[in-house]
């Protein structure tokens, strides 16, 4: 994390290393308008589940790398609802092209949160291509101007508050520790999808 290789680095070298579950709770705590949240495969998903099973949460059980495209699709379909994608650094590196698509289409109601622990934690903590890759610099280069590393918890709260005002797309990158998620999701894709659609008002809640 410390050896930025280019002068274009956006890294705050004094950025605090935080905890994914704690920040997931802080994020969800700010959601007052049934905002949608898409959890990426693995621990991003698990900590979202552990933070409280809102009907507006979608837990992606496979399809590594597609949390941001799925969130982008929801954002297109429902332009008045803010949509968050929670994605790990390894998953984002698998599907970097989606940042260019988001940058070009510029959905105002989409915010990407990247949990960056520099490892593929769920498969045995192998190192990702970080720290060579600066994901905020990549996102800015892809046209997502509102992209920033997070200094500490207070800064995270501020970035989420700002994102919720619109003016997206936004990308909030967070250096996190290597603690595992505190729970795991149920693994029933149809139930998860159905609940999410009802939570978004696409299907009637009582149907």
């Amino acid at each position: 994390m410390t050896n930025a290789k280019s002068s274009g680095s956006t890294r705050a070298h004094n950025a605090k290393i935080m905890n994914r579950f704690e920040l997931t709770k802080r994020l969800v705590g700010q959601l007052k308008h049934e905002e949608a949240v898409i959890g990426g495969i693995g621990n991003a998903n698990f900590d979202l589940w552990a933070s409280g099973q809102r009907p507006q949460n979608f837990y992606m059980l496979g399809s590594m790398g597609l949390a941001i495209p799925i969130a982008f699709g929801v954002a297109i379909a429902q332009p008045h609802r803010h949509v968050f994608a929670l994605e790990g650094d390894g998953s984002l590196l698998m599907q970097l092209g989606c940042l260019a698509t988001v940058g070009e289409r510029a959905p105002k109601n989409l915010t990407i949160v990247v949990w960056d622990n520099g490892i593929y934690q769920i498969t045995g903590s192998q190192p990702t291509a970080n720290p060579a890759a600066d994901l905020v610099a990549i996102a800015r280069g892809a046209g997502i101007a509102n992209s920033a590393w997070t200094a500490d918890e207070t800064d995270f709260d501020r970035l989420v508050t700002t994102a919720l005002k619109g003016g997206g797309p936004n990308l909030i990158a967070v250096r996190i520790d290597d603690k595992p998620a505190v729970a795991t999701t149920d693994r029933d894709p149809v139930q998860i999808r159905e609940r999410f659609m009802r939570g978004l008002g696409v299907k009637a809640a009582s149907a």
């Binding site: 059980l61 597609l66 799925i70 699709g73 954002a75 297109i76 698509t101 999808r193 978004l200 008002g201």
Partner: protein, 178 residues
């Protein structure tokens, strides 16, 4: 199509009209030479939101999110692009029961000049069949509107994806020019 309506003249006009009739508004594609007139017409028609994704599985993710948000979408790709999406089908679209509408411009047969395309072509139907994903190969223009219209309706009604494989017999395909 009602009998008193004038039949559109080309395959791509029929597909555009059928998508519109079925309220499919979001079109995400990875480009293909044969699909160019369709993509151009979709871009020109403000009924549709049409844009390119960087990769076919990304396009699948986008229309999956859109469906869950209440918006119908379709993806367009060529045969080689199909090779990038089996995981997205097997781990997202099929288990979540998403009526993804997937249009594939068929390469690799009936005069293919690129060995790579010819080999990916051989994997496409076996993959779809092994996942029990509905797939229809369309060779005749007089069957196109009926096939696409009914298959979209079935996909939505049964919450299941469908793949439309558009044969060179319908589109003319891509021929070696060099």
């Amino acid at each position: 199509m009602k009998e008193n309506q004038v039949q559109p003249a080309t395959w791509h006009e029929i597909i555009l009209a059928t998508l519109k009739q079925n309220n499919v508004k979001l079109i995400v594609y990875v480009p293909d030479r044969v699909f160019t007139p369709l993509i151009k017409a979709l871009h020109a028609d403000k009924f549709f939101a049409t844009f390119a994704a960087t990769r076919e599985e990304e396009a699948i993710g986008i229309i999956t999110g859109a469906w869950m948000g209440g918006l119908r979408g379709a993806v367009l790709m060529q045969t080689s692009g199909f090779g990038t999406i089996p995981n997205a089908l097997a781990s997202l679209v099929v288990p979540c029961q998403i009526p993804a509408l997937i249009f594939v411009s068929e390469r690799g047969t009936l005069g293919e000049f690129n060995l790579g395309q010819a080999l990916v072509y051989k994997t496409m139907r076996p993959v779809l069949n092994s996942l029990a994903v509905e797939n229809v190969t369309i060779t005749r223009q007089d069957e196109l509107a009926f096939t696409v219209d009914r298959s979209i309706k079935q996909a939505v009604a049964t919450q299941a994806p469908v793949t439309f494989i558009l044969s060179p017999l319908l589109t003319g395909g891509k021929v070696f020019e060099g």
